[in-house]
């Protein structure tokens, strides 16, 4: 019985992880590591954001957002603007992207 419950828990948690959504933001104006902190600080304040990865060279930020939370482009644009940069593109990634 215990094994069955554990297996169920694993399946459920796996589903939760799989349900998190990923977004890719293109950010203009980013040209050095020190500026990344201010951008990530603003993005981390967005609801549901669990993880942020920034590629300075490509001017891209990947956000992992909690299941059930939808990140909208205006929200992302405002956060990027608050850090002093400009949103170039906004895309919700499909699983595996």
């Amino acid at each position: 019985m215990k094994n069955l419950i554990f297996a169920l828990a694993l399946i459920i948690s796996g589903n939760v992880l799989a349900a998190d959504s990923q977004y890719q933001l293109g950010v203009n104006g980013l040209a050095c590591p020190f500026c990344v902190y201010g951008l990530e600080k603003q993005l981390s304040k967005l609801p549901g954001v669990k993880q942020i990865e920034t590629d300075v060279k490509q001017g891209e930020v990947r956000l992992l957002v909690k299941e059930g939370v939808v990140l909208t482009e205006p929200l992302a644009r405002e956060a990027v603007k608050k850090s002093g940069f400009s949103l170039r593109s906004f895309k919700k990634l499909n699983a595996g992207e």
Partner: protein, 294 residues
């Protein structure tokens, strides 16, 4: 000793210490994000010993400067700068060598910077930001030692409220960064002494030497220049003929930049010093600093 009042210790005044970001000896127009804090700890040693007068003056100023910046919005940033100073002066009067020292907190500087223009593109940004500030007379300005009251330029604080304004511009790419700043400083009178006003034109070029990965940070080679014109000081309402003049300083340095901190060092040396009278010339200034954001 009264004669000292009429002499200028030209590089005694702190300058460039308000810098917080990319350039080391002045400011930048790069953004401070909304609700972001910046902290900078900067130290420098300034040696001035090339004395054209017969006093054989030798002046060393050591400073530890704390800078706190805050982003009120993505365009408006406020800064506070507080130096701790240690000054030592040696000079010969009547064939006797004298030494005078003082140390303690200097004057507090507060200033704001507002971005009026920005153009962001992939991997590059261009910005223009005026700045305006005030130096508050928080440092001791009537200190005495065994020889009497210290000369006004040698005091920790000026005792005066001084004002400055300028414009800084930055163009930054992934490979290099160029900053330039024009500024003008108006000094007011206190204790019958008024330091001459000051006009500056600063430039900085930073070139990325190594590598592109953010995990490892960026290593920049830096070259900065400071063209400074100081008007003559006024003592008891009269111009001091041994003060003020034109200086051009060059400062090669190196800077390592990560996401959370920057460490940097630079040596600033004069290449031109056309000073009035027997104003004391600067030999070099060695700077080192570390900055954090949070």
């Amino acid at each position: 000793m009264l004669k000292l009042q009429g002499l200028t210790f030209c590089f005694l005044m702190l300058n460039g210490f308000m810098a917080w970001a990319a350039p080391m000896t002045f400011n930048t127009a790069l953004p401070v994000a909304d609700d972001e804090f910046l902290m900078r700890f900067q130290s420098f040693v300034r040696q001035s010993g090339n004395d054209p007068s017969t006093l054989d003056r030798d002046l060393k100023v050591k400073a530890f400067v704390t800078v706190l910046g805050y982003g009120v919005s993505s365009k408006l940033a406020l800064f506070g700068v507080l130096p701790y100073l240690d000054k030592e002066m040696r000079l010969s009067v009547n064939n006797q060598r004298w030494q005078r020292n003082t140390n303690g907190l200097g004057d507090l500087t507060l200033f704001g910077r507002y971005t009026v223009y920005q153009q962001n593109q992939l991997g590059q940004t261009f910005r223009i930001a005026p700045l305006v500030g005030v130096k508050v007379p928080t440092g001791e300005d009537q200190e005495t030692d065994a020889l009497g009251e210290l000369p006004q330029p040698f005091q920790l604080g000026t005792g005066s409220w001084d004002f400055f304004a300028g414009m800084v511009s930055t163009y930054q790419t992934l490979d290099y960064q160029f900053d330039t700043q024009l500024s003008y400083r108006i000094n007011t009178e206190a204790n019958n002494f008024e330091a001459g006003n000051e006009a500056r034109w600063n430039m900085s070029l930073q070139y990325r030497l190594w590598p592109s990965s953010i995990q490892h940070g960026f290593l920049y080679a830096v070259m900065e220049s400071n063209l400074i014109y100081r008007y003559q000081n006024r003592i008891n309402g009269y111009d001091d003929p041994n003060s003020g003049g034109l200086s051009l300083l060059l400062a090669p340095g190196i800077q390592y930049v990560t996401k959370r901190w920057i460490v940097e060092t630079v040596v600033q040396r004069p290449v031109v010093q056309n000073l009035y009278g027997v104003a004391l010339e600067n030999d070099y200034t060695f700077w080192a600093s570390v900055r954090f954001n949070f």
